[in-house]
Amino acid sequence: MPDLQWRLRNQDELVTWRSNDETVVYDAGSGDTHLFDLVAAEGLNSLLESQLTEQEFVERLANRLDIKPDEQLHRYVGRLIEQLEAAGLLETADS
């Protein structure tokens, strides 16, 4: 469903710690701790700015990474959305 708006479930509950190229994120809502590599961390930062459709997410992430929004990035973003939603970090705007 390409027009679904995605947003962080509750960004006030997220605490981050950066060490070199890795970011550890603690979600005070779920009590879970997540490890983000450089690309995924930029994905998270994209969502901190505003809610996004999947397409907007791809474009914003491409912009942040200074790369072209190609097929590989589309697939990556699709998987990232699935993982973040399952981890309770992401929800659709109508949730």
């Binding site: 710690w17 060490s19 890795e22 550890v24 005070a28 009590g31 701790t33 490890l35």
Partner: protein
């Protein structure tokens, strides 16, 4: 019998004779308190009475009125006693960040060995304890959420199966308590902590190194740096109450790891591991003053 165990006053009670003797032996260097208005943790291991003394007999461990282990076989009193004390502290001392790690100290710096059951953590801990390092704990790293220093307990080291033989070979100064066979973890025995470790139990240690352990039979010894973020993830999943402490647990753990050097270690030969940790790489990390226990 009230006993001082590191920062805690504990009262031990049992109706099992073999256990009482074993406790006297293993905790011989600890201070018994004669008069006490306040006991931090009351722990008892009791054999069931009445008909159950003979029919399907069992024992229970209770701490602070709460069951730690509700029914276990009568041949495993000493291991369950020690595991019960671990559970008691992990459950009721949550004013600390409690990591599942062995902790030893040299020159004020703590080496924390993180690993799951069977990883060789206790073997390495015992090996280093009898080769120049001071024992703080073989299982529970009590980290202060205020200044991140580690508080010592200096309790007996629990060893299982093959590792028991390996440690006994270190020499006659290594004193072990009675052996229990056929427990859920196989053959288990306990090593009496060195007198020096018990005498210095009030000296806390500053975090120095994290070593994330995997034991592989016949493996070459291999020590590799690991990123601090990866270390945080592994240690968090190996902590007793990281989740319980919530945001404070996250902040404390990341701050502690940030000040440490972190490694993955694979080993199979204890002598090689001892030589590694007594080498230059693990000499003084920082100049630190030893802090009194809080």
């Amino acid at each position: 019998m009230p006993v001082r165990i590191g920062p805690f006053t504990m009262n031990f009670k049992t109706n099992v004779n073999g256990l009482a003797e074993a406790i006297h032996y293993l905790y011989a260097d600890f201070s018994i308190i004669n008069e006490c208005d306040f006991i931090d943790y009351r722990v008892s291991l009791m054999r069931a009475g009445g008909l159950r003394r003979w029919i399907a007999p069992y024992m229970t461990v209770v701490a602070e009125g709460t069951s730690m282990f509700s029914k276990f076989p009568v041949n495993a009193a000493i291991p369950y006693w020690e595991w019960g004390l671990n559970r008691c502290i992990a459950r009721f001392a949550q004013h600390y960040l409690i990591l599942h790690a062995a902790v030893i100290e040299k020159h004020g710096n703590a080496l924390m060995i993180v690993g799951s059951s069977g990883s060789g953590k206790s073997t390495l801990c015992a090996g280093l304890t009898f080769n120049g390092w001071r024992l703080l704990s073989d299982e529970l790293a009590l980290v202060s959420t205020e200044d991140h220093c580690i508080t010592a307990l200096a309790r007996p080291i629990t060893l299982k199966n093959e590792s028991l033989k390996i440690i006994q070979q270190l020499g006659s100064h290594v004193k072990t308590g009675p052996v229990s066979h056929g427990t859920v973890k196989g053959t288990v025995a306990h090593v009496r902590p060195p007198t020096d470790s018990v005498d210095r139990v009030n000296e806390r240690a500053t975090p120095g190194w994290f070593v994330l352990l995997s034991y592989q039979p016949d493996a070459e010894i291999q020590l590799e740096p690991v990123t601090k973020a990866q270390a945080v993830m592994q240690i968090a999943h190996n902590a007793f109450n990281y989740g319980t402490l919530g945001v404070d647990g996250f902040k404390s753990l990341t701050q502690v790891v940030d000040t440490c050097d972190c490694y993955n270690l694979t080993y199979s030969n204890l002598d090689e591991a001892i030589a590694l940790f007594n080498g230059d790489q693990f000499a003084i990390k920082n100049n630190v003053e030893l802090h009194e226990a809080i």
